[in-house]
């Protein structure tokens, strides 16, 4: 069993009202000094067997076609150590 993480974030040019709402609330809660907040998704995949290059390539494809919508989102795939 190995864990692969896929992080999906809205592209920088896309308005992220969730992140903005968080950022706007921070000063009210007494937290200053945060210049920007973006909110995205994190997927934790438990993979059967070992994660070799072939497996990673498949997960990359899965992220590209399914986990992220590349019209609006970027993604990163990493093997969790």
């Amino acid at each position: 069993m190995a864990r692969v993480v896929v992080d999906v974030m809205l592209k920088p040019e896309i308005l992220d009202p969730q992140g903005q709402a968080v950022q706007r609330a921070l000063p009210r809660l007494g937290f200053d000094g945060i210049a920007d907040v973006r909110q995205g998704k994190r997927f934790e995949l438990e993979v059967d067997g070992t994660v070799d290059d072939a497996a990673l390539a498949r997960i990359h494809e899965m992220a590209e076609t399914f986990l992220a919508n590349t019209v609006i989102e970027d993604f990163v795939v990493r093997v969790e150590s």
């Binding site: 809205l10 040019e13 896309i14 308005l15 009202p17 969730q18 709402a21 399914f66 986990l67 919508n69 019209v71 609006i72």
Partner: protein, 235 residues
């Protein structure tokens, strides 16, 4: 013989019964379609109804678009079969890349349910011929992820080709349904593909086909009468 219009039920589709009713009210034969079934049962057109297919999990429409029925619909839509995507159906159409752009969380981050004023920008599609260009209509709107977005180039292209089918009408009171309800770019409420057979929009014309029910108007009926006329004249 009247035309057969199919309405797809995915797990979590909610407005399929309403869409079937709207098809019937317009005088067509309503045909329920099932997501696992590749066969479209000889329908002449398809409505992808509203709701929360697969709970809107991952992204609205993201899981449904991979269902067996969609494989056939995608193929036939490319061949010219009329397809109307309402709300979740619109989201599925963008996820399936039959229409450009994507739908994002409303800018106020809330689900919104209200009467919505729309301006018909393109009265030449398969689903809008019974409206006048520039006509204002009022239909219910209800969604969580209704903010239309696309990159600038795509937006310019849509405008230039007259493919913005509906815009949120500006200029009046929000209480009367005016204004952009969710931050959609360029006030876009619905778009069409270049051929005019595939149309998607966020508001719900199928909820505005009978007096008394919903907003109490029949402004949405035109979608269903438009397609019926088109299909009848083609046959």
């Amino acid at each position: 013989m009247t035309s057969r219009i199919g309405v797809v039920t995915f797990p979590g589709t909610l407005d399929d019964q309403d869409a079937l009713r709207a098809v019937r009210v317009a005088g067509a034969e309503a045909v329920p379609l099932w997501h696992r079934d590749r066969d479209l049962h000889q329908v002449d057109a398809v409505v992808l109804a509203g709701g929360f297919s697969y709970g809107d999990y991952l992204r609205a429409g993201a899981i449904s678009r991979f269902s067996p029925v969609m494989e056939t619909i995608i193929e036939q839509a490319k061949g010219g079969m009329p397809v109307l995507g309402i709300c979740n159906g619109f989201q599925i159409l963008t996820e399936a890349h039959l229409l450009p752009g994507a739908m994002l969380r409303n800018n106020h981050l809330h689900f919104i349910c209200r009467d919505q004023r729309l301006t018909v920008e393109n009265a030449a599609t398969a689903w809008t011929a019974d409206y006048e260009q520039g006509q204002e209509i009022s239909v219910p709107l209800k969604n969580m992820d209704g903010r239309y977005t696309a990159d600038e180039r795509t937006l310019d292209e849509l405008e230039a080709e007259g493919r913005v089918a509906f815009r949120y009408t500006a200029g009046g009171n929000a209480a009367d349904g005016y204004g952009n309800p969710n931050g959609s770019l360029r006030d876009i409420a619905g778009i069409t593909n270049a051929a005019g057979n595939v149309v998607g929009l966020m508001p719900h014309p199928e909820h505005a086909v009978e007096p008394l029910i919903g907003t109490g108007g029949t402004d949405g009926l035109g979608f269903f009468t438009s397609i019926l006329k088109k299909l009848v004249s083609a046959s």
